[in-house]
């Protein structure tokens, strides 16, 4: 098994690779050079980096303008200050105008757990799903982040990528190929379906192993492609499992859980769905990411507990 890797390192490598391939990439920062780990790219391509300072609205607006000239604008800053500070720029300048802007939403979820609620980004999927045209991805590990970024740079149109800042255990082999819209089945089973968003995938895999050890045959599905999404594949997946549990470092509202509920209701499926998503009315809780994940049941133990609750 390879060593855990930071997704950002892989994404920066893809940006360098794109430059070598002659793609007209411009990276936009909002005093987020360290957040994005852009240094190697900036050293090699200083003319392709634009740091606007702590001004996210202007970062996104300028990115749209840059894209209008034929360049590929890539914004790279901290998730809690991307969508909500500059929502109207994202909604209008990027999504409504359908400009070729790629948004790297770095350190999403509880990545900044100890820094408090102002720094938690657990509502980003809900926000970006309300926008048109934009593709939405949440890579689970470094090989997938590489593939997602390669796709994003070649897709013409807005892309939102939910990113992390920790070294994440590698679930995918180096040879992994990402298909936009596909649900990535990491373990194929037949009774319990575990649906995972982003870097919670190792926890979902671990939960799958624990359930298997107890005689169950769980499926572990990685939802790295939120939009596009093969709804027919999702319908069949939900229909072929009796119990479904969703694990996402995101609010109950508007994220993966909500997406699955939408399909269950619209397709009139019988699946029993439980979720480890963050409940409404969260206390003002800060702590390490591990502690926050444990508190909300966003780990293998929490997923197994949720399945047991459903079965009892």
């Amino acid at each position: 098994m390879s060593e855990p890797m930071d997704l950002r390192d892989m994404v920066i490598e893809v940006l360098m690779e794109a430059k070598r391939d002659g793609l007209p990439v411009m990276v936009m920062l909002s005093d987020s050079a360290s957040t994005s780990k852009i240094a190697p790219f900036a050293a090699r391509y200083p003319e392709s980096v634009v740091n606007v300072g702590i001004a996210e609205q202007n970062m996104v607006g300028m990115a749209a303008g840059i894209a209008l000239t034929g360049s590929i604008a890539v914004t790279a800053n901290a998730a809690p200050f991307l969508l909500h500070r500059s929502y109207e720029q994202v909604k209008l300048d990027v999504c409504y105008n359908n400009t070729n802007v790629k948004m790297l939403s770095i350190n999403a979820g509880f990545a900044y757990g100890q820094l408090g609620n102002t720094h938690h980004a657990v509502d980003d999927i809900a926000t970006i799903r309300s926008c048109d045209h934009v593709q939405i991805f949440a890579p689970a590990d470094a090989p997938e982040a590489r593939e997602v970024m390669r796709h994003a740079l070649r897709h013409v149109g807005p892309v939102y990528i939910r990113m992390d800042n920790i070294k994440v255990e590698l679930i995918h082999e180096d040879s992994y190929r990402f298909t936009p819209g596909a649900i990535d089945i990491v373990r194929q089973g037949k009774d319990v379906l575990i649906c995972s968003l982003g870097t919670l995938l190792p926890a979902a895999v671990q939960a799958g192993k624990a359930l298997a050890a107890q005689g169950m045959d769980p499926t572990v599905a990685n939802f790295s492609s939120i939009r596009p999404l093969d709804r027919n594949a999702l319908r069949m997946l939900l229909d072929s499992h009796s119990h479904v549990v969703v694990v996402e470092e995101h609010s109950m509202h508007g994220g993966l859980t909500a997406l699955i509920y939408e399909v269950v209701v619209s397709e009139r499926l019988d699946a029993m769905v439980a979720s480890c998503a963050l409940p409404e009315g969260r206390p003002t809780l800060a702590g390490t990411r591990g502690d926050l994940r444990a508190h909300y049941g966003l780990d293998a133990t929490g997923v197994v507990r949720k399945v047991m609750e459903m079965l009892s």
């Binding site: 609205q57 202007n58 607006g61 303008g65 209008l68 000239t69 109207e88 209008l92």
Partner: protein
């Protein structure tokens, strides 16, 4: 086929020619608004001399090849001035006159605010205020870094400058030395609810712009001779500060009973008022129809 380089405006009209175009554009905008019973006619009349000067003298573009890579860019940040903008684009030949009859209608080529997916010549969809300056800055920066000679013209309102995003953009335009960007401010001193200075003062505007690093010039924004002169001078300035041009305008300019009356921000002229306005504009065109 190889594209020819664009080096000039396709019309290059003199001041009298621009004035005549502006009069026709006013007539069109008034008729569109009267017909559709929707629009921001005071804003349209405020900006029309600026737009006419840009499209018939200043902007370098090519008719029939509107996406030409050498073209100058124009962004209408005050998107509610759509009527004046559409009337100008039509007069400059960007789309057929028949479109004018569909202003604000269902799925029209000419919706209530500029929509680039709908209207030939519209570079960017606007409507919410405080967006255009950043977008223009992005275009200017990309052109500058890529060694392209395009120039970027952006028209903001004055009330619009109450949006903080403009000042983020202003900081960046100055810091990045975007001397290929020309920021024109339609300073008619009125906004939806009243005078800008009574709602939230913009002044001292020149001091603010200078403090942000701009070279500031003033012009009568309803006088094409002054507009063209100020823009030409700004283009030739050759200093390393970006250019901001305060265009002192009259909201409702050209129609006496609309001038400086806040209600005409989005009041709709009756057929009688439209006829009266046509009389003032010395036009015998009747209301309705594209010709």
């Amino acid at each position: 086929m190889e594209q020819i380089r664009i080096t000039s405006n396709p019309y290059e009209l003199d001041f009298n020619g621009i004035r005549a175009k502006a009069r026709r554009i006013r007539v069109t905008a008034l008729r569109m608004t009267t017909r559709s019973k929707l629009g921001h006619v005071g804003t349209d009349l405020s900006e029309i001399d600026i737009l006419s000067s840009l499209y018939f003298s200043i902007l370098r573009y090519q008719r029939g090849d509107i996406d030409h890579p050498d073209r100058d860019y124009f962004i209408l940040s005050k998107g509610h001035g759509a009527g004046g903008y559409y009337a100008t684009l039509c007069e400059a030949g960007f789309f057929p006159r028949a479109y004018l009859d569909t202003y604000m209608e269902f799925d029209s080529h000419l919706p209530g605010h500029p929509t680039r997916a709908k209207t030939p010549g519209v570079e960017f969809s606007t409507g919410a205020l405080g967006h255009g300056l950043s977008v223009a800055a992005g275009i200017a920066l990309a052109c500058k870094r890529n060694g392209r000679s395009n120039q970027v013209f952006v028209l903001t309102g004055d009330g619009e400058l109450q949006e903080g995003s403009n000042w983020e953009a202003a900081m960046a335009i100055s810091a990045f030395g975007l001397t290929n960007l020309y920021w024109i401010i339609d300073r008619n001193s009125l906004q939806l609810g009243g005078g800008t200075e009574s709602i939230m003062p913009i002044d001292p505007l020149e001091d603010k712009l200078r403090a942000f690093g701009f070279t500031v010039s003033h012009m009568d924004g309803n006088n094409p001779a002054q507009i063209v002169e100020a823009l030409s001078k700004a283009r030739q300035a050759g200093d390393n500060r970006p250019q901001a041009l305060i265009a002192h305008t009259v909201k409702g300019s050209g129609v006496s009973f609309m001038e400086n009356i806040c209600a005409w921000h989005h009041k709709i002229p009756s057929a009688e008022e439209c006829a009266l306005a046509m009389g003032e504009l010395d036009s015998d065109m009747t209301v309705g129809g594209s010709e």
